[in-house]
Amino acid sequence: MPPTRQPSTGSGMTENSMGDKTRRLVEAMAAYSRDDVERFGELLLADDVVWHWSGRSSMSGEYRGAEAALELVRGFRELTGNQLLIEPIDVLEGDDHLMSFTHVTADKPGEHLDVIMTDAMRFGPDGKVEEFWTLSNDQAAVDAFIG
């Protein structure tokens, strides 16, 4: 099971001072780390979510609907097996949006990934994500790892 930590702004943010969107993301990531991708989806994703995966890898593109999005999430999990470590660095939460920065390390035979990944989200009125972007400041490294 990949270890995960609570997101933090690094400025003393505690669970009590988290916004609703950050709290929901933390719950969803806890489910993800238990390998409960279904629960991750129930907590976080609107039925008609659109997930944009950046870059030029086999995963890059647009995934429409919660089922397609969960296939993407499962695919990324399978690719990295249990060798995926997601370490939250920063969360920025606004009225309708959230951006999360994580330090992601992953291993697969002969390959090592060590990048900052960025997940950007637009939340709908029911508190779930309607639009999701996954990108990195080193997209080439992410693309090379995914293949």
């Binding site: 949006h97 951006m99 637009r122 972007w133 400041n137």
Partner: protein, 136 residues
């Protein structure tokens, strides 16, 4: 009261809207890096303030100054920022209108160190910039 880095991002967006090259220069760290996503001919990493300003110049020249940022939400803390926005532009009779998510890393001295972004419809962005027939 807005975080100082929210104000920094707003100044940046205003300077971009006004085409204020001098103000933009002051808001970019000398060794800033701009990661421009997608697979079009402008995609890639621009390293250093001068290369980034030149990229901005190219974008404005090619769109005849029509490229406009419409910020929806601006977020920041001491180190990082996010801008959610719509981008509209016109080039050679083609229209662009896409939602984007942009991430910023601050240098810590009131300037931007690093930028990366992704459009909701990256294919539309790539087609807008490229002239290949595959995009119609």
């Amino acid at each position: 009261m807005a975080h100082p880095n929210v104000e920094l991002l707003q100044r940046f967006l205003d300077a971009y809207a006004d085409g204020d090259r001098e103000a933009l220069e002051g808001l970019l760290s000398p060794d800033a890096v701009w990661h421009v996503g997608g697979t079009n001919r402008l995609s890639g990493d621009y390293r250093g303030r001068d290369a980034i300003l030149e990229y901005f110049d190219t974008v404005q020249r090619e769109t005849d100054g029509t490229l406009t940022l419409h910020p929806v939400e601006v977020l920041a803390n001491d180190r990082r920022g996010a801008v959610f926005l719509r981008v509209t532009a016109e080039r050679e009779g083609r229209m662009l209108d896409v939602a984007m998510a942009e991430a910023f890393l601050f240098a810590g001295d009131g300037s931007v160190q690093e930028f990366w972004a992704h459009a909701a419809d990256q294919a539309a962005v790539d087609g807008f910039w490229d002239d290949g027939e595959q995009y119609g």
